[in-house]
């Protein structure tokens, strides 16, 4: 019992180890495997990423020149980044935020510059 007495008393007088998370955020580590972003312009819609994605989170419509990405399926393994011949996939250091619904992102050549959410989150208002 006495073994731990010192440790707890020490804790009492130390600053708590807690990171005050939502109030102050830590910088994400460099090279962290965070969320996946596609570059619709660089992409040639070859479908390599789609074939290799272990989570089947990517669908490439070659004819349509469209890439559908389901971020709520992606396990952020970064395999697609590795296999993409055109460096069209970028893995950011930030992680993806929770949401009320599972959105799907559609990418295409710069006609559609920003990822468009095809599914409106329900009942958020």
């Amino acid at each position: 019992m006495a073994n731990f007495l010192g440790a707890v008393i020490e804790n009492l007088f130390k600053k708590p180890a807690t990171r005050p998370y939502p109030f102050t955020k830590r910088e994400p580590f460099k090279d962290a495997r965070g969320l996946i972003k596609f570059d619709g312009d660089k992409c040639v819609y070859c479908g390599a990423c789609s074939k290799k994605c272990p989570a089947a989170a990517i669908r490439v419509e070659r004819a349509e020149k469209a890439l559908y990405f389901e971020p709520f399926k992606c396990v952020t393994c970064g395999f697609c980044v590795e296999v993409c011949p055109k460096d069209a996939i970028n893995q950011e250091f930030e992680y993806r935020k929770p949401d009320y619904s599972k959105s799907i992102e559609k990418y295409g050549p710069s006609a559609v510059p920003a990822p468009a959410k095809t599914e409106a989150p329900p009942s958020q208002a």
């Binding site: 731990f4 707890v8 804790n11 130390k14 807690t18």
Partner: protein, 292 residues
């Protein structure tokens, strides 16, 4: 009685309405302190009240009617024993009423055919078994010093009881550990979930019925404080400090021990707690009876 009726009304009011507030605050402090001992920040101090309010607002889906009745009786007898204590009534009656509350609580646990509630109730009996002798010895020791079981006599003493019953501080800490369900004796139920009985005796309660239990804990905390304060009744501030010290010791013990089994608890309470109190009691006997 030493109290005039106006005073009594005030004290009853305090016991019924102010005590749970103080108890709740102490519970909040308890949680913060526990967190700090673990190197965490911990919840806001008003957390016990938030918890209770939230539970009040939820739709209960609790087990049986008998359990609900029992829970209310538990609450009432807890309040009653606090009132008895604070109005200077018979200490032994207070202990009996307190025990009655526990028994109803246990019966409530038994009244649902639910595994964890049932085993929790069995263990709660054992907890009563463990601390009851200590409380009664405490009361008897006070009797021997004051010559009366009436609480108010304590306040008429010249010297605080602590001087003649120092070992009862240990007994009080043991009682607190068991009553506040702290490790190593958090057997029948506990605040945190990680234990073999899920939430033990309170497993089947929910919503406002569970809120009642939380309320009882607030009263219980206040009651234990008052019990501790009796040791230093000549100066209630010191008494309070003593009570807080006991509480602090309890929390520290909670954080430096593993949970033991019920048989260990009985062994500890009876093989260590009882002899310690008995020793103190024997000394008091010697001076108060044999010497005279």
């Amino acid at each position: 009685m030493f109290l005039n009726s106006g005073n009594t009304v005030l004290i009853v009011f305090m016991a019924v309405f102010v005590a749970p507030l103080i108890g709740g605050l102490l519970m909040g402090i308890d949680r913060i302190l526990s967190a700090r001992l673990q190197g965490r920040i911990g919840p806001p101090i008003l957390q016990p009240f938030y918890d209770m309010m939230k539970l009040m607002s939820k739709k209960p889906i609790s087990g049986t009617k008998i359990q609900i009745i029992c829970v209310f009786v538990y609450l009432v007898s807890m309040i009653l024993s606090l009132v008895l204590l604070m109005t200077g009534q018979d200490l032994l009656v207070m202990v009996l009423v307190l025990a009655m509350g526990s028994i109803f609580f246990i019966l409530g646990g038994f009244s649902v055919k639910s595994p964890y509630s049932n085993i929790g109730a069995q263990r709660e009996i054992l907890q009563v078994l463990a601390y009851e002798p200590l409380i009664i010895f405490y009361v008897v020791a006070i009797y021997l010093k004051t010559g009366s079981f009436m609480t108010f006599k304590v306040f008429e003493l010249k010297d605080p009881l602590l001087y003649s019953m120092p070992l009862f501080v240990v007994a009080l800490i043991i009682i607190m550990v068991i009553k506040l369900r702290k490790s190593p004796f958090d057997l029948s139920t506990s605040h945190h979930a990680h234990q073999e009985l899920v939430k033990g005796i309170t497993t089947e309660l929910s919503g406002r019925h569970l809120a009642v239990i939380e309320l009882v804990h607030m009263y219980e905390m206040a009651l234990l404080m008052v019990l501790a304060m009796l040791l230093f009744a000549t100066n209630l501030w010191i008494g309070l400090a003593l009570g807080l010290f006991c509480l602090f010791a309890t929390i520290v013990i909670d954080n430096i021990t593993a949970r033991l089994t019920w048989s260990d608890m009985l062994r500890f309470a009876w093989k260590i707690g009882v002899p310690i109190t008995a020793l103190n009691l024997a000394v008091i006997y010697y001076f108060s009876i044999i010497k005279k």
